[in-house]
């Protein structure tokens, strides 16, 4: 019997969730031996990345936000702890670090994005961050314990980055932290952003900007970092501005995974050119990319990876069964942002509709916190009906996909 081979590269949110959806939907085919699902990943530890904010600014224990990958997977998935080092789209095969070669009929690229402080001179030495993992997030918390006063700068050192609201949340959480510690009057919080306003989307910024002002968080816009001088504790912009700091919390520049770069299948930043509707890798059949790995101009976030996974799993099942009812993702984002004092907003939009006006509320804060509690269950696909009700329409038949204006010649 010829086996239909589905290979998923990357075992983060998108890869794990797609594998589980496929294992659920194709369980008969997998049991019957006509289909295989192989998931490649580097680590057994699977982190809940939004938890990094709590580790960095609330002192949460890193282990609270980590689970064993094998315990998150449905039956029928072969998890291979051996990361891909080469993706050969022409030869339709993936090579792992140990030299194993996996041919595929259907491929999902879920290799994520890499936060890389080394891309800015002096940044790695001069800053702390909560994007490179739970342990580095813990270092932020430790630094805050010994901080008695001075300037804390929150710096967006590159775009796009994972979790667009995270820098703003960091500033709000720092404000909360220093107020609780009773030293807020001795701390200046400076927010350095390349964007024109406190948050890139204007209607969200209309909420965040005045709140920053009220809390005494100083915003410096159009600050595109050039370099950091750790000895002088100064950060410089390409535009010629410079600021001093005592503690620098940075959102490092991001790029695509090494396997994408090394395989020559990414753009200049290592992101995979992807159809923003069907999630197919451009110019390929049966090959998809999801989440942070793509070049699609939407938020790099777990919710986006989740919603794209639903589309990709459906489209692969459609190919396996020959039903030809392809779906397309509508660009829905839904990023929660804590704004301090147990309140939050949600940044929601689609490709066709930018974020709307927001009012911070405790209910939204509870919603955000609730999601963190159900995340592990959500990864196995058993809560999809709840999510469908919460998110509303996030996908539509691919043939109805709207097209952009014609490109200039």
């Amino acid at each position: 019997m010829e086996v239909v081979r589905i290979v998923i590269v990357g075992s983060g949110d998108g890869g794990t969730f797609t594998a589980n959806l496929l294992a659920s939907e194709l369980r008969q085919e997998i049991r019957g031996g006509s289909t295989s699902v192989q998931l490649l990943g580097e680590h057994l530890a699977h982190p809940f990345q939004p938890g990094n904010l709590d580790i960095a600014f609330k002192g949460a224990e890193p282990r609270k936000y980590v689970r064993d990958e094998t315990r998150l997977l449905r039956r029928g998935i072969e998890f291979i702890q051996d990361p891909a080092v080469k993706i050969d789209l022409d030869g339709r095969r993936v090579t792992t670090r140990s030299g194993r070669v996996l041919p595929y009929d259907h491929l999902v690229i879920a290799t994520g994005a890499v936060a890389d402080p080394s891309k800015v001179p002096g940044l790695a030495e001069g800053s702390l961050n909560f994007h490179t993992g739970p342990e580095d997030s813990r270092r932020v918390w430790e630094a805050l314990q010994g901080f008695g006063g001075g300037t804390v700068a929150v710096l967006i050192a590159g775009t796009p980055h994972k979790c667009p609201p995270a820098p703003n949340e960091a500033a709000f959480m720092l404000d909360d932290f220093f107020r609780k510690k009773g030293i807020r009057d001795r701390v200046k919080i400076r927010f350095l952003t390349p964007y024109p306003r406190a948050y890139p989307a204007e209607k969200v910024s209309n909420v965040v900007g005045p709140m920053f002002e009220k809390k005494g968080i100083e915003v410096n816009t159009f600050f595109n970092v050039d370099s950091v001088d750790p000895a002088k504790r100064k950060v410089y912009s390409m535009e010629g501005e410079e600021f001093e700091y005592d503690l620098l919390v940075a959102i490092p520049p991001h790029h695509g995974a090494d396997v994408i770069v090394d395989s020559g299948i990414g753009d200049a930043d290592g992101y995979v050119p992807t159809d923003k509707g069907t999630m197919k890798v451009k110019g390929q059949e049966g090959v998809y990319a999801i989440g942070d790995a793509t070049d699609i101009p939407v938020s790099k976030s777990g919710v986006v990876a989740h919603l794209q996974s639903v589309v990709v799993a459906h489209n692969i099942v459609s190919e396996v069964r020959g039903t030809h009812d392809e779906l397309a993702y509508n660009g829905r984002i839904n990023c929660p942002m804590e704004v301090g004092q147990h309140k939050a907003i949600f940044v929601s939009a689609t490709y066709e509709s930018p974020p709307e006006d927001q009012t911070p509320s405790t209910v939204k804060y509870i919603e955000k916190r609730s999601f963190a509690m159900i995340y592990w269950r959500a990864l196995n696909g058993s809560l999809e009906r709840v999510f469908d009700m919460f998110f509303g329409q996030t996908r539509f038949p691919a043939e109805a996909e709207q097209h952009l204006p014609p490109k200039a010649s």
């Binding site: 775009t159 890139p200 159009f222 535009e239 010629g240 204006p405 200039a408």
Partner: protein
């Protein structure tokens, strides 16, 4: 259409903020003084955002042209930390 030959053309049509200005910053990062960057956008905020950035940073918006269904913005890099 401007007769200037841009060093780089950024097609940001169909992308909302921060898409267009983010693409401009990426091009600015690798640009030399004197380079001209052309940006195409459907986002109505692009014109105001890019003009504000140029004013603050000391760079120059050479032209903003209304095309059919989008705008074309020409930016000259006149200030950048060396």
């Amino acid at each position: 259409m401007s007769a200037l030959q841009p060093h780089k053309v950024l097609d940001c049509r169909g992308s909302f903020c921060p898409g267009p200005i983010t693409e401009l910053f990426k091009a600015y990062r690798s640009a030399q003084l004197g380079d001209v960057i052309e940006l195409l956008a459907t986002d109505p905020a692009a014109k105001a955002d890019i003009t504000a950035w140029a004013q603050k940073s000391g760079n120059e918006v050479l032209d903003v042209v209304d095309e059919q269904g989008y705008i074309r913005i020409l930016v000259k890099v006149t200030k950048k930390r060396s």
